[in-house]
C-alpha cells in the first residue's frame, strides 16, 4: 500500500482538535435515542494533517503538470480566486439571512448573471445549477415546460448528435424525453439531411455542443438551428466548450434558445478532484419565465447616492427548485473574480490563445497521429491512438505511457464516434515550451509504439501505482475500510 487509511492510523484513546467543556447545565438526553457506538477514527491533529498531506502528494494536479484533457478545460486556477471566496463577508454569511444583510452577495450574483448573459448573448441567467449536468437537466426541463405551457404535448423527443457527452441523453431521459440520435457527417458537422429527416412536430429540441466534442465549429450551425426552429423545436447549447468562443461569437446570436456554462471549465474555478463545479443556465427572452426558483433581481432601482436593492424572485412559470438555497455561491465568487480580471479583451484573448494552442499541437502531431476530421480545430481536437502498423497498441496504452513522462493523458475513448479517441485540449494558460515538450513526447511515444510496444503495453512504470485491476474492483465490491456495525 502507499499510505495507510485513516482507520489504520487510528489509535484508541487518541484525540484531535479540542473543544471547550459545556458552559451550560447538562440537559437530559433523549431516552432510547442516544447512540452507543460512534466508530470514527482516533488520531491527533498532526496525524491527520500528515496523513492527508501525504495523500495529496500522490496526486497529479494542474499546479504541477499539464492536463491536455479534451472538454475539461484544465486551465490555471488563479490563487486570487481562493482568497476571494474566503473573504469572511462571503464565506461566513448564512443563506437565510435577511436580504438587507447580504446585499453585497446579491449584488455579486446579479452582476455575474448579467456578465454571463452578455458573454453568451442571452436575456437572463440562473446561478442555481450545481454542475454542468445539473445545468443540462435544468435546460431540458425548461424546454419541456415551454412546450407544455403552449399546450404542445406531442413534443416528446430530443435530438442528440452521436458525438454528444453522455450527460446529454441522460439529462433528456431524466426529464422524460425519448432520445433520437443524429449523425455527424464526414466533415465533422451535424448531418443536415439526417437532421431534417428526424425533425417533426414530435421534436422538443436539439442538444448541440458547439464547438462539438471533436473540437470543430459546426460550419452549418445557423442552418442547424433554423431546421430545428422551423419544426417548432428549441435548441439547447452544451457550453462545455465555451473556452473557444469568448469574444469570438455568442451562442445567443447564433440562435440558441438556452445553454449552460461550466464555471469550473471556462471560468477557472478549480476542479477539486471531482467537484464542486457550477453550471449556470442562460436563456433567451421567451424562456425567462421558466427559470428555476429563484433568480436575483433588482427590487428597487438605485439612485446616484443609494445602490439598488437586490432580492430573489421566483420566475412566473418556474420549473421549480433544483437544489437547496441559491446555487454554489462560493464558486460564483471565483468566476466573478476571473471575469472581472479579464474584461472583454482579456476574455477574447483567452479563446484566441486556447484555439491557437490547440491548432499548434494539431499541426505538430497530425502527420504522426491520424486525425479523422482534419481541418482547423477550435480549442481541442481528436486524434486516434492507434496505428495500422502497430496493431497491439491502443489509445489506452498511449495514455498510460504519457504518465511515465509526467503528463496527464488526454481524454480517452470519447467521443464515441472516433475509435481509440484521444481528445486533446491544451487551454490558453500553457506556455510554448510545455506545448512543445508535450508534442515531443507524443512523437516519441508514437515511435515507441512501433519499435518497442511493450513500453506502452506495460505502462505506466514510474507512477505511484501501476495499472489497477478494475475488474476486481467491480466484482469484489469494497467501498469501506472499516464497518463494525452489523446490519
Amino acid at each position: 500500500m502507499l499510505e495507510p487509511t485513516i482507520y489504520e492510523l487510528s489509535s484508541s484513546g487518541r484525540s484531535g482538535v479540542k473543544y471547550p467543556d459545556p458552559d451550560v447545565p447538562l440537559a437530559k438526553l433523549p431516552e432510547g435515542m442516544v447512540r452507543k457506538e460512534l466508530p470514527l477514527p482516533e488520531l491527533s491533529e498532526f496525524d491527520v494533517v500528515r496523513h492527508f498531506t501525504r495523500l495529496s502528494r500522490l496526486n497529479y494536479c494542474i499546479d504541477t503538470g499539464f492536463y491536455p484533457l479534451g472538454s475539461c478545460t484544465m486551465k490555471y486556477n488563479p490563487k486570487v480566486n481562493e482568497d476571494a471566496a474566503r473573504i469572511p463577508g462571503f464565506s461566513q454569511i448564512h443563506p437565510l439571512q435577511p436580504a438587507e444583510t447580504v446585499q453585497g452577495a446579491l449584488a455579486l450574483m446579479y452582476e455575474l448573471q448579467r456578465w454571463l448573459a452578455e458573454i453568451s448573448g442571452f436575456s437572463e441567467v440562473t446561478l442555481q445549477p450545481a454542475a454542468g449536468a445539473h445545468g443540462e437537466f435544468v435546460g431540458v426541463m425548461i424546454i419541456r415546460a415551454y412546450h407544455l405551457s403552449r399546450g404542445d404535448t406531442k413534443r416528446t423527443r430530443m435530438i442528440i448528435p452521436d458525438s454528444a457527452h453522455g450527460t446529454n441523453p441522460a439529462s433528456s431521459a431524466m426529464s422524460g424525453f425519448d432520445v433520437v440520435p443524429v449523425a455527424t457527417d464526414e466533415k465533422g458537422n451535424v448531418d443536415l439531411e439526417s437532421l431534417k429527416a428526424v425533425c417533426d412536430d414530435t421534436t422538443a429540441g436539439l442538444m448541440l455542443t458547439n464547438p462539438n466534442t471533436l473540437g470543430l465549429f459546426d460550419q452549418n450551425v445557423v442552418d442547424v438551428v433554423n431546421i430545428v426552429h422551423k419544426a417548432g423545436g428549441l435548441v439547447y447549447g452544451d457550453g462545455a466548450n465555451l473556452n473557444a468562443l469568448l469574444g469570438i461569437t455568442k451562442p445567443g446570436m447564433l440562435g440558441f434558445d438556452v445553454m449552460h456554462f461550466n464555471l469550473h471549465k471556462t471560468f477557472s474555478t478549480p476542479h477539486g478532484g471531482g467537484g464542486p463545479g457550477s453550471g449556470p443556465v442562460a436563456v433567451a427572452k421567451h424562456l425567462v419565465d421558466f427559470l428555476p426558483d429563484p433568480i436575483v433581481v433588482v427590487k428597487e432601482e438605485g439612485t446616484d447616492e443609494v445602490p439598488p436593492l437586490f432580492g430573489f424572485k421566483t420566475p412566473a412559470k418556474s420549473i421549480g427548485r433544483v437544489k437547496s438555497f441559491w446555487g454554489h455561491f462560493g464558486v460564483a465568487v471565483r468566476a466573478y473574480t476571473y471575469i472581472a480580471m479579464h474584461g472583454p479583451e482579456g476574455l477574447r484573448s483567452v479563446s484566441e490563445n486556447a484555439v491557437l494552442n490547440a491548432n499548434y499541437i494539431l499541426a505538430r502531431l497530425k502527420d504522426t497521429y491520424h486525425v479523422p476530421y482534419n481541418r482547423i480545430c477550435m480549442h481541442e481536437f481528436v486524434a486516434e491512438g492507434k496505428w495500422q502498423d502497430a496493431p497491439e497498441v491502443r489509445a489506452l496504452d498511449v495514455a498510460k505511457r504519457l504518465m511515465d513522462y509526467d503528463f496527464h493523458p488526454p481524454t480517452n475513448y470519447f467521443p464515441l464516434i472516433v475509435h481509440e479517441a484521444l481528445m486533446i485540449e491544451p487551454t490558453e494558460t500553457e506556455n510554448k515550451q510545455t506545448l512543445d515538450q508535450f508534442c515531443d513526447v507524443m512523437l516519441k511515444i508514437a515511435q515507441e509504439a512501433h519499435d518497442s510496444p511493450e513500453l506502452l503495453l506495460e505502462a505506466p512504470h514510474t507512477t505511484p501505482l501501476r495499472r489497477l485491476d478494475e475488474v476486481k474492483a467491480a466484482k469484489d465490491l469494497v467501498f469501506c475500510c472499516y464497518f463494525p456495525m452489523n446490519e
Binding site: 475509435h419 478494475e470 475488474v471 467491480a474 466484482k475
Partner: protein, 129 residues
C-alpha cells in the same frame, strides 16, 4: 470468433437455440469480446413472466459497458440462469454453453425464422468496424 452453426442470431448479438418449443437465449462471442470482463448479470424477468419480442430479459455489466439482452422472441419465461450471476466470468469464457441467460417458451415460432443463421451473422460481423 466462434459462431456455432446450429444457432440463430440477432443484429444485437443475441443467439437462440430451439429445443422443442423452448428457446434458449444468450449473447454471442462477438458481444462478450466487446463488453470485455463481465462483472455483473441481473435478470429483470422471472419464471412465469410474459415477454414480447424486444423486451429486456437480462442486464449485463462489464467494467466499461452495460448492455441489455433483448428477447428475440415472444413467449413465457421458463427459466433464468442463476449460475451465471455467480460466475459472471463464464459469459466471457463460455457464452454459448454455461452462460446461457434465459429460456422462453415460444408463442410465435415465425419470429425465429426472421433471425439470421450462422453464415448471415458471420457476414454481418465482418461488415462491422
Amino acid at each position: 470468433m466462434n459462431i456455432p452453426t446450429d444457432l440463430k442470431y440477432t443484429e444485437s448479438d443475441e443467439w437462440l437455440k430451439l429445443e422443442g418449443d423452448t428457446a434458449i437465449i444468450g449473447i454471442t462471442d462477438y458481444a462478450q469480446e466487446h463488453l470485455s470482463d463481465v462483472v455483473y448479470v441481473e435478470f429483470p424477468v422471472a419464471e412465469g413472466d410474459e415477454v414480447v419480442k424486444g423486451d429486456a430479459i437480462t442486464t449485463i455489466e462489464s467494467v466499461k459497458a452495460a448492455a441489455e439482452v433483448n428477447s428475440p422472441v415472444s413467449g413465457t419465461v421458463t427459466a433464468v440462469n442463476e449460475e451465471v450471476t455467480k460466475d459472471t466470468g463464464s459469459v466471457n469464457t463460455d457464452p454459448f454453453g454455461a452462460a446461457w441467460m434465459v429460456k422462453v417458451k415460444v408463442s410465435d415460432p415465425s419470429e425465429i425464422d426472421a433471425m439470421m443463421d450462422a453464415a448471415a451473422y458471420e457476414k454481418y460481423c465482418a461488415g462491422r468496424s
